[in-house]
């Protein structure tokens, strides 16, 4: 047995710690370490709560119109005022949170899975996989993305599902590119080769060694993309695609309010727009926080 002196640090410990609640302590450490991250996570939590409990929290029925009470400015009764058919803007903004969030989360989830998977294959195997995925991504990216979304919704039909699919399609290239780049960089790293030497099959290497390390940059992309996906969906509804009145959705509410803002009734358009802005802003801020959480370099 070699008795070469071990390295300097000789403090004895048990050695077999469980990492069960390590994740939670990590989370608290990251969240409290940076005040901006904390704000972002709190806002995100608030938005999620509103999305889930929106209809319960809303003081009025978002679809209940009352012509005599139309176009009232913000007051104690109606915090955000009423719109042109007398509906309470505050309730509508609250309820719209769920729809907007659902659309974007679904769209981003689809594009993350599809794009990430394709990008991983392209980055790991190279060759004609790479060319195939590259062609697909290039074709999508050849269009200005919002225009392509417009075209897809126009062609496939003016429904909310198609808004989701269109947004998912135009986001696939981002994930595919990030996944491909990150996997490509790590493909020949020492630890990946070591994993192969240890008897891991290609699939195991990709899934357990490469992908977990490629995850942090993809997570940042997810958060940034969420904001962009929300803007896209709202933009499409603003020009009249997807969501139809009287559904409460931020984009369509701004569109309806646009007619009145030039005559001074600002609350119809400004409040949903501000809500939209806040949601996007939250997701953008969260990008950094998410990356810290997933990146082991930042752990205690």
């Amino acid at each position: 047995m070699s008795t070469l002196p071990p390295t300097k640090d000789t403090t004895p410990t048990g050695g077999r710690q469980r990492s069960a609640k390590v994740f939670w302590s990590q989370f608290v450490y990251i969240a409290t370490g940076n005040p901006v991250t904390l704000i972002a996570f709190s806002l995100f939590l608030m938005i999620v709560i509103i999305a889930i409990f929106g209809p319960v929290l809303a003081p009025y029925d978002p679809l209940a119109s009352n012509a005599s009470n139309a176009l009232q400015p913000p007051s104690w009764d109606h915090w955000f005022g009423t719109d042109n058919v007398g509906r309470d803007v505050f309730s509508r903004v609250l309820v719209a949170t769920r729809l907007d969030l659902l659309i974007s989360i679904t769209a981003v989830a689809i594009s993350f899975v599809v794009g990430g998977f394709l990008g991983m294959l392209a980055g790991y195997y190279g060759g004609w996989w790479d060319r195939l995925v590259g062609r697909m991504v290039d074709t999508i990216m050849a269009f200005p993305l919002f225009v392509l979304a417009m075209g897809i919704v126009a062609a496939a039909g003016n429904t909310v599902e198609n808004i989701v699919y269109a947004t998912a399609i135009i986001n696939v290239p981002f994930y595919a590119r990030v996944a491909r780049a990150e996997v490509n960089v790590r493909r020949n790293a020492g630890y990946v080769l070591a994993a192969k030497l240890a008897g891991n099959s290609d699939i195991r290497v990709m899934a357990l060694h490469v992908f977990p390390n490629a995850l942090p940059p993809m997570m940042v992309q997810v958060s940034l993309n969420m904001g962009w996906a929300i803007l896209n969906a709202a933009g499409l509804s603003f020009i009249g695609l997807g969501v139809q009145p009287p559904t409460a959705e931020w984009g369509i509410m701004v569109a309806e309010g646009a007619n009145y803002i030039v005559s001074g009734e600002w609350w119809m358009a400004i409040f949903p727009g501000a809500a939209l802005m806040l949601a996007v802003f939250t997701f953008n801020l969260m990008g950094d926080g998410l990356r810290d959480l997933v990146d082991p370099q930042r752990r205690t």
Binding site: A142, G151, F238, A269
Partner: protein
Amino acid sequence: MSGSRLAIVGHRLLQAVPSIIGIIVVTFLLTRALPGDPAAYFAGPAANEESIAQIRAQLGLDKSLPEQFWVYVVDLVDGDLGTSLTTGQEVTDDILRRLPASLELTLAALIFSIGVALPLGIMAALRENSWIDHLCRVVVTAGVSLPTFFTGLFLLYIFYYLLGLAPAPLGRLNILYLSPEPVTGLYTIDALIAGDFDTFWASFTQLILPSITLGLFSLAPIARMTRAAMLQVLGGEFVRTARAAGLSRRTVVITYALRNAILPVITTLGMVFSFMLGANVLVEKVFAWPGIGSYAIEALIASDYAAVQGFVLTMAILFVILNLFIDIIYTLVDPRVGIDS
């Protein structure tokens, strides 16, 4: 330009070909892959059985898909994008008529965007943690959160309704003025060419709010990339060599740092153009700007499929040209391009 550079530029042009092919295929599929009967879509919601059958024969929709595609391509080469349901005109004519308005808007937005973002990013990088650095960071974080249509409405409310500074959002030119003699199609330029300063000012003031709205969102990624690229380059090893060799600060910042930092910024412009061409549509709706964006919205509402298809195709081709332009500029600036790494 040396021979090899020319060859690389030639290569880049060739690379645009698969993109254009892809665009043509996708736009074709978009309208032929419609659920239901394409002929009914093209005939319009008010059509009856007879006119649908007529349209079907006219557009060759009874032929096989590959045949249809061939006809589509042939028509395209001819410049024939079909006929618009709403205007009754050739779609190509409609688009060409309305394109200059969008171009003027996009160009103005681009000038505003780059003109503000570039110096902001550079200054922020040079003076870390100064007020300008914080301003840059605020602009970047807030900028990417702004919904373009919301910004437009907000600016309208403040500057038109409250402050009365901006003109009414009624398009490119107040009806009191006549549009200038068309040379480029851009009212501002044409007015200047004609020496008509009143018309120039009138069209310019109409242009301010829409172009700022459009440019505000793209301000953020350009400023962010400029700042990040400058910081990275300034911390890089060759800048260290330059400083150690005693080069003046001006030489270090401009010749060594900036020229290298501008490269990733140029590549960012691709995404910026993608966004701008899309957001055009939103801005045109808010400000009643008579460009192809509002044309597309009208077409969408009226289910005018030929017009929508023409719009998507035009925007895509425009985008390809803009990207080519960026690629070529990049190739000229970076001598390393074309080397297999």
